[in-house]
Amino acid sequence: MDNTSKKQELFRAGLVIFFLLAILTVGEFLIGAIAVGWAAPLFGIALLKAALIVRDYMHLPRLFAGEEESHE
């Protein structure tokens, strides 16, 4: 795969994560508005959103990759 196609693929992956985060945010807003005492689902959504950001935007797996492949 050439450099441009790889970049485009990563751009698309970033967009997919963004849409997932947006859907989850709207979901938690609605849960917060409808059900007052539902702290557990809201915390679950927050954990899921954080996991997506840490894995796909912060690239945590890079930390555990070797020196050679960590730049991918």
Binding site: F11, G14, L21, G32, V36, A39, L42, A50, Y57, E67
Partner: protein, 190 residues
């Protein structure tokens, strides 16, 4: 091995070491925010302050969009795309400033309580203030990489400062991911 290969290997090694340092810093910072979150739920379980829901949702959305553009900027730089890097970084900076105005300039102004009114008041202003301070330092950090990027100091092979700024910015977003429901959504309004 040529000198160029040696230099590239040395840069990769330093990047790997710097990355460990960066994540240790992020982890230590996360404990401070975690402490604030624990204090909020310990003092006011099942309750929350009265805040403007639309402002909360709007600033959350702004930070989310900024993370998307920061990821785009970092990906662009990792592939030597200077133009998209600069554009993405600039948009992130602007969105970061809008977030700051939304929290400090709007939410703080319209809130029905002050830091000295109650423990919840103190917690709200400390949590949002400390987070806003991180956003501010993130904006400054992004400003520095934007200026350096314009000078052509980064390349596809050498751009660790861009990665560090991006990771820091996303961390600030992760913190808000927990602060937003804790302050705006969980519990009954006091």
């Amino acid at each position: 091995m040529t000198t160029e290969t040696n230099l590239a290997a040395s840069y990769r090694f330093r990047t790997h070491t710097n990355r460990i340092g960066l994540w240790l810093f992020i982890l230590s910072d996360a404990f401070v925010f975690g402490g604030l979150l624990v204090a909020r739920f310990y003092l006011y379980p099942g309750q929350r302050p009265e805040l403007d829901q639309m402002v909360g949702l709007l600033v959350t959305a702004i930070l989310l969009v900024s993370s998307f553009f920061m990821n785009r900027a970092e990906t662009a730089m990792a592939h030597g795309d200077q133009k998209n890097f600069l554009r993405g970084t600039l948009i992130t900076i602007v969105l970061g400033i809008i977030f700051l105005v939304g929290v400090v300039g709007v939410e703080w102004r319209i809130a029905h309580f002050r830091p000295w009114d109650s423990a919840m008041g103190s917690l709200f202003y400390v949590m949002t203030g400390f987070h806003a301070f991180h956003v501010l330092t993130g904006v400054i950090f992004l400003g520095i990489i934007y200026r350096n990027g314009r000078r052509g100091l980064y390349s596809a092979e050498r751009h660790f400062p861009v990665e560090a700024a991006a990771v820091y910015w996303h961390f600030v977003d992760v913190v808000w991911v927990f602060f937003y429901p804790a302050l705006y959504l969980m519990g009954r309004v006091i």
